[in-house]
Subunit: 239 residues, 2 copies
Amino acid sequence: MAIRYQNVADDIRRLITSGAFAAGSKLPVEGELAAKYRVGLMTLRRALDVLQDEGLVEKHHGRGNYVRRTLQRITYTGSRDSGEAGVCLHVAVETAKVAAEGTVSELLGVPAGRPLTEYTYLGERDGLPRSLAHVYVPRDFDVLPPGAAVSPWGDDVREALVASGVAFATTVERVSARFPTSEEAKALRITARTSVLAIERTSIDVNGQVVVVALLVLPGDRAEARFVTFSQAELEATQ
Amino acid sequence: MAIRYQNVADDIRRLITSGAFAAGSKLPVEGELAAKYRVGLMTLRRALDVLQDEGLVEKHHGRGNYVRRTLQRITYTGSRDSGEAGVCLHVAVETAKVAAEGTVSELLGVPAGRPLTEYTYLGERDGLPRSLAHVYVPRDFDVLPPGAAVSPWGDDVREALVASGVAFATTVERVSARFPTSEEAKALRITARTSVLAIERTSIDVNGQVVVVALLVLPGDRAEARFVTFSQAELEATQ
DNA sequence: CAGTGGTCTAGACCACGAA
DNA sequence: TCGTGGTCTAGACCACTGT
């Protein structure tokens, strides 16, 4: 049997992708749409939920439902190919003194309560936040926070560490897809139902010591991550 | 004002995390729960939707709602650190002759319609599918499909290509978080609301030719991807 | 205040799974 | 077949936004 909210969603999706409902424009009010499709309000709203999850529609309480503008995606370019083509994000940084705790304390291999410096990076473009990064460094490695950040991934912390004599050996990036915490959703201005790319990056120096941990969160519908690997032969050729 | 479905979700969540509702056990039927919390059925179901999205509850049409068992995660280990610690997945492979189309044709840099060989890998553990991979090779490079696959990511196709003389240069992996297509959801036995990690891997040979494209889909709640980078110094040391 | 979406209900009927 | 969850409705009332 045909499921009505799916049928309605299919038709509205068609109208959007065909351009009958222009990007950025306001959709008819829910009552009108419900009448048009001869379904109840709940059913129509369910159809809009489907489209919202697909990223086609934005709902604004008290204002109306809108066709979402196509979002340009940003790319997180792993730790290696630093020859990244313009990320072009406006980046805001905040610094805080915090105590090691939970995952961070575990990843850094330091006991809970150990003093850390936390850098919070928020990358924006077109007035919309696109990336959120928390970078943690043990207080010992006290790094001067550069006034203006260039990389939304906290690479300047890394560079500052290199400048102060740290020799990096290995970087491990664990990537997962999940739903945002309420704080992340608020910071990135996404709904709790938008999936995010979560990247946990640990950098280890030549002594086997974890010197910096970065936790990145990218909205799934506006970002992707890219990792490039060169074969052994290729690496030798460039040397 | 307190939102009732959130209150109900909060209480059931407490009962689950405190162990009052044991992992794997069946929840009371929806009618009972609705009566217990003195809410309508729709409201109760909305609360369960919240918990389902959080991965705490599994809903089974016609059977009941269950407290989800903690899921062991599997790890996709990039293309490089092939020294992966036991993936331990049972892998099933299917081979098909297909025509290049859409994304695949674009990534391979061949015109649409060009004959390709498609390998479909389904990785399972504990009777549950955990990974889905589609690997595409131009028909020219006809590779003998090995009877039993070892890698759920299609690495044996890659190895077969190496054995037949292909020299790989660079591998690019694009990672994104999104919702599954209905086909993916069916194959992985997840709901349309579980986010997935989508990995698009292209391998280029020394002539700059894309020789193999792999599209991987991992259920976000049961998998993660790991990428390891070694510093230049580290690489030289191992040579 | 008017317009719009968000929450909630009670009850009808459909679809799935297991016995 | 029976018990279960899934879909759907009509209508009430609440909450947010802009004038």
